[in-house]
Amino acid sequence: MRKRARETADQGQAGAARRSLLLSPAALGELLAALLRRGYTVIAPTVRDGAICYEPVNGVEELPAGYTMELEAGSCRLKRRGDEALFGYVVGAKSLKNYLHPPERRVFAAERDNGLFRILPEQTERPRFAFLGVRPCDLAAAAIQDRVFLKDRYQDGEYRARREAAFVVAVHCTEPAATCFCASMGTGPRAKDGFDIALTEIVEPGRHLFVAEAGTAAGAELLAELNASEAPEELCRAAEEALERAASSMKRRLDGDGLRELLYERFEDPHWDDVARRCLCCANCTMVCPTCFCVTVEDTSDVTGRRAERWQRWDSCFTQNFSYIHGGSVRLSPKSRYRQWLTHKLAAWVDQFGTPGCVGCGRCISWCPVGIDITQEVAALREAARTRA
């Protein structure tokens, strides 16, 4: 297993500046093929069921060439673009979380054995994922999940194994969706670190190219196999400008200034009743959030009582059993659940893990069936704080 040495290529190359290489769409296909040859399960964007989904792929031809996905609150529409861009959209409903912290997994099975209790050996061969087309907000989300699962006394071994084995090809965002607000969260639209390779796609009349940079020695090694030439200065500048335009064009934002204190103070604000009337407690927001990590653990036995299993499944603070303690659930009302979610994300998370639990990916906005928008709820609470004092 490759040690995730997060030393940058700069360090690897003894202080030389990060090199920018030029890749053609064909070279991108070679990069994908090289990952498959190394035995990775490659997770990349592909068109499925009327959306762009991040799923296992077997070649560059499965990428959504010429497609985009228009995201709004509670809505996602697959559309054709006027060009052949491979990454002309942003995040899908799935994130790295679906693969590194799977939705359900058996923790162990056990059998009764002559009056004793025997834990059966689990298969230990774990998938090795290479993620292609990871967005900057998702790298930030993965860093948050690393903090949650790996940086405390108790660690999640399954997550560690999957994470350490993973290879990440990021794509900087030149065309954010209407639901994105990473610029205001400081997580995008340019990825700072956390990738092996990062790409910027340039699609203009007459040219379709990628500027590639390595983030780790492993990334540099893979790029070297592609015999790519140095990207011309002019192209690098075009890429930079596209990213600056992306940052300034982002319409949604979340003002984090003093937010932690504000949320604690607004604990009894009437606005929570307002959002509770609209919220369905369906939990979609937490399922798609790339940082939400909660699970429930369920034990089952079979009819004969000879065999038992323990399963771990994604859970959500929007369910009633989530806050069940002896005698009943602590958070019975939808109001208390939405408040718990938002206050944990944006306030308590800071106390717990040192950063907010939101990276501005906008998934909870687009995949909420009734389009509840975290940026609007925060703005409304700010407004309430201003006017209700």
């Binding site: 919220c279 369905l280 939990a283 009819v303 009633q320 059993n321 939808p334 687009s366």
Partner: protein
């Protein structure tokens, strides 16, 4: 669970107004049933066996809703004979599709459908078992899911709490990795207000959830109905969506009744 005198727990299966689909789910669990047969005694199950042992029973599984005077009396006797009474399916739990009559004049239906209406004795309403007697557990679905049934029996036999979730279908849908048909297609999906348990089958086949598992733990059906209307659905479509197998469940009723008035 074992019964008082150490013999195998006895199970009985009863039928009221229903299509038999839920009992078929029980038969469909054949392999597991063999194991069940080893662990329990199927004492009364007319659909599967001619052997009919007298009560009392340890677990009674009840399919179907109450639609006649005779049924209303029979369920009282059954309750007295069963230590644990479990309703299986939407009919027994919510009144079933036949509860659509509850909004209409049943006498009129009888006159239209039957050549000799005077032979027909029926109640005006189709009602769930729990409106007549106390129910210990409700297994949802139209029909029920055999894995939930086996889980319920296994848990009851082991004396543990069954893992039967009461949260939304959306949670199973997202765990399964299905593209949300409500968000991506604008489909009318009842998943957000429907109880999980089926594994989110319908969205996985590109259709909105029909709500066959009935209301989830705290369904905001009014808000979902309002959202459907705001996003361009016709009122009649919305009423139809909420009035299927679990039409008579009050949490689904309140989604459309206020707007009717």
């Amino acid at each position: 669970m074992s019964s008082d005198n150490g013999r195998k727990p006895r199970i009985a299966v009863f039928k009221f107004a229903s299509c038999d689909g839920c009992q078929l789910s029980l038969l469909d669990a054949e392999d597991e049933l063999l194991a069940v047969a080893g662990a329990v005694e199927i004492a009364y199950f007319p659909e599967a066996s001619r052997r009919m042992l007298k009560g009392p029973y340890d677990i009674g599984l009840v399919e179907g809703s109450i639609t006649t005077h005779h049924d209303a009396q029979r369920i009282q006797q059954i309750r007295r004979q069963c230590r644990t009474l479990v309703t299986i399916g939407a009919c027994a739990t919510a009144g079933g599709i036949q509860a659509l009559r509850n909004w209409r004049d049943t006498g009129e239906f009888v006159r239209y459908v039957y050549a000799r209406p005077d032979y027909i004795q029926t109640l005006n309403h189709s009602t769930p078992i729990a409106e007549h007697v106390p129910v210990d557990f409700e297994l949802r679905g139209c029909p029920i899911n055999k894995y939930q049934l086996i889980e319920l029996l296994s848990a009851t036999l082991a004396g543990r709490k069954p893992n039967i979730p009461t949260y939304s279908v959306c949670i199973e849908c997202k765990r399964r990795g299905t593209v949300c048909v409500a968000v991506a297609q604008g489909a009318m999906c009842l998943g957000p207000v429907t109880q999980a348990g089926c594994g989110a089958i319908c969205p996985a086949y590109g259709r909105g959830c029909y709500g066959c598992y009935g209301p989830m733990e705290n369904p905001n059906s009014k808000r979902l109905a309002a959202h459907f209307l705001e996003t361009g659905k016709e009122r009649e479509q919305v009423v139809r969506a909420f009035r299927t197998y679990n039409a008579w469940a009050w949490q689904f009723r309140e989604a459309t009744e206020e707007r009717e008035g």
